[in-house]
């Protein structure tokens, strides 16, 4: 009786749609932003992204944009590092500055009551960073520490090895933090150039949510971003794809092996993107019911968790996944992984799997739009992926329109059991690097 009740309830209706009213705002100075205006809590969250990210570095300065980004809050205008931090604390405004492969992401939370002062401070960080010598050396040492720590982190090691084998001489092939040598060689001029290359009005994308009117947001953006140059460096072309099927074992002293696996992926604007998105969800979409989670964790207890994801790199998309297993179990887990990869490539998925994934994705989507910080991030993400502003209204229809045949087709095209490469970091039993 209990089970019948649940079945009946889930068939009733999909959850109520969230009321998300996105407005496109154009500032007097010509900067556009997407805004969800909500005056219920007296603060605003901003998510500002500069497209291009660490791809916009000059040759032989690997790590320059990462280091530059870390220095934006370490002294600006006539404030030194400590004065800048004290000013932000006294306003209870919070900034974050992060460099990624395809964008530099800067977020802010500003209280309504002192928003103008917080904006002054943010403008200083973006437009007038001083890159003062002692700050450079201090943050450079922090970067050395990150590089050393990554060299001891199995997840990072696996990523570095896989990307190095995949991307040839493209920036994607190396860690965005740079190497100890490349970072040691960076000069203040390199940082000024890095800043000039990536922080431009032509590259900028803005998401905003919270207690601000469109007019106030426009003025705020002109103030924060208006003095940046219009254009910067030209992004590189598409990355080569040199990865071949097989296994790479990297010796690492640990009772567990970390496995990173995958091959070529699919572009966000590919006509078959939605079928691929559903395919990934069903195969290893990070929940407890995915095919790989069921076969490898739930049925066999070979791992704590396994997931796959579509990496939407602008210049070389990938389909990757990862898990960890004890050294004596990892070979068996990889066997199951290969079987499932081949099975789905050949046979697609079942109607039950597709329906479950569609229900989850369409039901979960409206639940994403909560919290100013979160919404600002979603709005910026949508723009950087070139989605239309009414994407939210059509997205669930696109998910529901995917058929079993669509998935069979895209699985045949995308999943390549022969081309699947697995990097194993650990001391796995019964596995060796393939020639």
């Amino acid at each position: 009786m209990f089970r019948i009740f649940i079945a009946a309830l889930t068939l009733l209706a999909s959850p109520a749609l969230a009321q998300v009213d996105i407005r496109e705002v154009t500032s007097p100075g010509g900067i556009t932003a997407w805004l969800v205006e909500d005056h219920s809590i007296p603060f605003v969250a901003l998510d500002i992204r500069f497209a291009g990210g660490t791809n916009l570095e000059e040759p032989d300065t690997r790590g320059a944009i990462h280091l530059m980004t870390g220095l934006l809050e370490e002294g600006a205008g006539d404030l030194d590092s400590r004065e800048f931090a004290a000013a932000a604390e006294s306003l209870a405004t919070y900034f974050s500055f992060d460099a990624y492969r395809d964008s530099v992401v800067i977020t802010a939370q500003m209280l309504t009551q002192n928003r103008d002062e917080a904006a002054d401070l943010m403008r200083l960080a973006l437009v007038e960073p001083t890159f003062e010598d002692t700050a450079i050396e201090r943050v450079r040492n922090q970067v050395f520490s990150i590089i050393a720590s990554d060299a001891n982190d199995p997840d990072e090691i696996a990523g570095d090895v896989l990307y190095a084998q995949t991307f040839g001489d493209h920036p994607y092939a190396t860690a965005l933090e740079g190497t100890e040598e490349s970072v040691a060689a960076l000069t203040r001029d390199d940082l000024v150039t890095a800043h000039r290359n990536v922080l431009t009005r032509g590259n900028v994308i803005v998401g905003a949510s919270g207690d601000i009117t469109p007019e106030d947001l426009g003025r705020l953006l002109d103030h924060i971003l208006g003095d940046l140059p219009e254009t910067g460096a030209t992004p590189p072309g598409d990355a080569p794809y040199n990865l071949t099927g097989g296994i790479t074992v990297v010796d690492y002293p640990s009772p567990q092996s970390t496995a990173l696996f995958g091959h070529r992926g699919i572009e966000r604007d590919d006509p078959e993107f939605f079928p691929a998105f559903l395919l990934n969800q069903i195969l290893g979409g990070g929940n407890f019911r995915s095919r790989l989670m069921t076969e490898i964790r739930e049925e066999r207890g070979l791992t704590y968790g396994i997931s796959t994801f579509l990496i939407l790199f602008d210049h070389g998309p990938m389909m990757l996944g990862q898990f960890s297993s004890s050294n004596e179990l990892v070979a068996e887990a990889i066997d199951v992984l290969r079987q499932e990869w081949a099975d789905v490539a050949e046979n697609g998925v079942s109607a039950v799997e597709l329906e479950a994934a569609q229900r989850f994705l369409t039901g979960a989507y409206p639940l994403r739009f909560t919290g100013n910080e979160n919404i600002a991030g979603i709005l910026a993400g949508m723009q950087i992926d070139n989605m239309p502003i009414d994407y939210i209204n059509t997205r669930n229809d696109n998910v529901m329109a995917v058929t079993l045949e669509d998935i069979r087709q895209v699985a045949r095209r995308l999943l390549d059991p022969e081309g699947l490469h697995v990097v194993v970091v650990g001391q796995p039993e019964g596995l060796e690097t393939t020639p």
Binding site: Q256, N287, F360
Partner: protein, 441 residues
């Protein structure tokens, strides 16, 4: 010019608008289930959490890891649901679900559309009492837990070090065991131990329901009556835990692991936690940890990262949400040419100077303003607020204690902070931990 604007802002520490606060209410069912409701009507979403006053510190000696193992097994078969069906139903409804275990509590949560709250309660009430715990599920899931331990603890030098440090810090109290359990004890866990723990602790009178989001207290009460109301209470009192003997000796823990990239030193002290109706000392300790470690203008980073540049990272930590004695720690990750012994001496020196000079009043004013602002920011994420209430109530506090906390923080003076500092640094023994690479490398 910029500086003038900032100077004006500095003096503007009073809030110009009255702090926005989330609507919080509570009720208790006849069977003892205590419920807290946090309203947020901005989006049609609800977070449903059920917390049990049972965690790793309630396990029988020699059988560590039961509470966490049981948390995994709650997703397996009940008398009416198949193994894995719980998560499948949540996902089919567009929701997400998970669970967590600490020393004082085990919690389960789902985030779903608010019109699915009844369904979540129905399933959560079912697994509170009707879990089958089949031998098959136990065998497979023990393997999963051992893999989890391998991934989270044994693959991570810092996690292994923290485990050893904690076991040295608590001499008798079961906070000394790791939540996930010692490997050799988890390997030996069987159905009987897990079932006994389940029977002992999973009952409505040992549970706290927290619902946050687009719901009214009346709706929550009606649904809770319907789904949790029929469950019988177990009437088991909370277990008395072993308490600490007087700690009269300082101790040292040295751990070397080739996977360490940034060696560091940490010094930890056992200190009071937040107690019901008595949170002033914990509030002073909280502000002490802020004064010493929050942000780059704090005492430790300012002295060691900025002024002398002898540290990559220096900080302090304290969390008052504990049922029993909590931990205050200071950390120092030195730069490459500074040894760990020197790094420990640097910590001593900074603390000695601090005890001499006291709290910088401007920094203190900034911190108090940030605490005021957090009352605004925190209402943006009621899921996090729900988690805070759950942790507080399973740590022995009341809803009133949680609501009083911001005012108590605001009432703490620099003198209170210095009194807390003297208690920690002058009157309490400590454990100093050194995490390093093997010397022969």
């Amino acid at each position: 010019m910029m500086r003038l604007a900032l100077a004006a802002a500095l003096s503007l520490t009073a809030f110009t608008s009255s702090p926005h606060a989330a609507e919080v209410s509570e009720f208790t069912l006849e069977n003892g289930l205590h419920a807290v409701v946090i309203e947020d009507h901005r989006a049609p979403v609800v977070v449903h959490m059920l917390w049990y006053r049972a965690g790793a510190a309630d396990e029988p000696p020699g059988a560590s890891g039961i509470a966490h193992f049981l948390e995994h097994l709650l997703f397996k078969a009940t008398e009416t649901m198949e193994s894995g069906e719980f998560s499948r139903v949540v996902e089919e409804n567009g929701g997400s679900d998970n669970a967590f275990t600490s020393w004082d509590y085990t919690g389960y949560f789902q985030r779903v559309a608010s019109d699915r709250l009844g369904l979540m309660m129905q399933m959560e009430a079912d697994r509170m009492r009707n879990l089958l715990l089949t031998d098959d599920d136990i065998e497979t899931e023990r393997s999963v837990v051992l893999e989890e331990r391998g991934e989270r603890t044994e693959s991570n030098a810092g996690a292994l070090f923290s485990e050893q440090l904690r076991a040295s810090l608590y001499l008798a109290h079961p906070y000394r065991i790791p939540i996930i359990g010692w490997r050799h004890e988890v390997e030996a866990l069987g159905r009987q131990e897990v079932f006994d723990f389940y029977q002992r602790f999973y009952s409505p009178d040992n549970a706290i329901l927290v619902v946050a989001g687009d719901v009214t207290p009346d709706e929550v009460r009606a649904l809770a009556e319907e789904h949790y109301g029929p469950l019988a209470p177990s009437m088991n009192p909370r277990l008395e835990r072993p308490s600490e003997p007087p700690q009269i000796a300082n101790r040292e823990v040295h751990y070397a692991d080739p996977r360490v990239s940034d060696p560091y030193v940490v010094r930890s002290y056992l200190v009071p936690e937040r107690d019901p109706g008595d949170q002033r000392m914990a509030a002073a300790l909280t502000l002490l940890s802020n004064v010493l470690g929050s942000g780059t203008t704090a005492v430790l980073p300012q002295a060691l990262q900025i002024d002398t540049q002898r540290s990559l990272y220096a900080s302090a930590s304290y969390n008052g949400l504990n049922l029993d004695d909590s931990v205050f720690s200071i950390y120092n990750v030195p730069t490459g040419d500074v040894t760990l012994e020197e790094a420990a001496a640097d910590l001593d020196q900074v603390i000695a100077d601090f005890l001499e000079t006291g709290v910088d009043p401007e920094q203190f004013e900034r911190l108090q303003f940030q605490w005021e602002a957090s009352r605004i920011y925190e209402t943006d994420d009621v899921g996090a607020l729900a988690r805070r209430y759950g942790a507080a109530l399973t740590s022995g506090l009341t809803v009133q204690d949680v609501q009083d906390w911001p005012d108590i923080i605001a009432s703490i003076t620099p003198e209170d902070v210095m009194e807390a500092a003297r208690l920690v640094f002058e009157e309490t023994t400590h454990v100093t931990g050194y995490l390093n690479q093997p010397t022969d490398q």
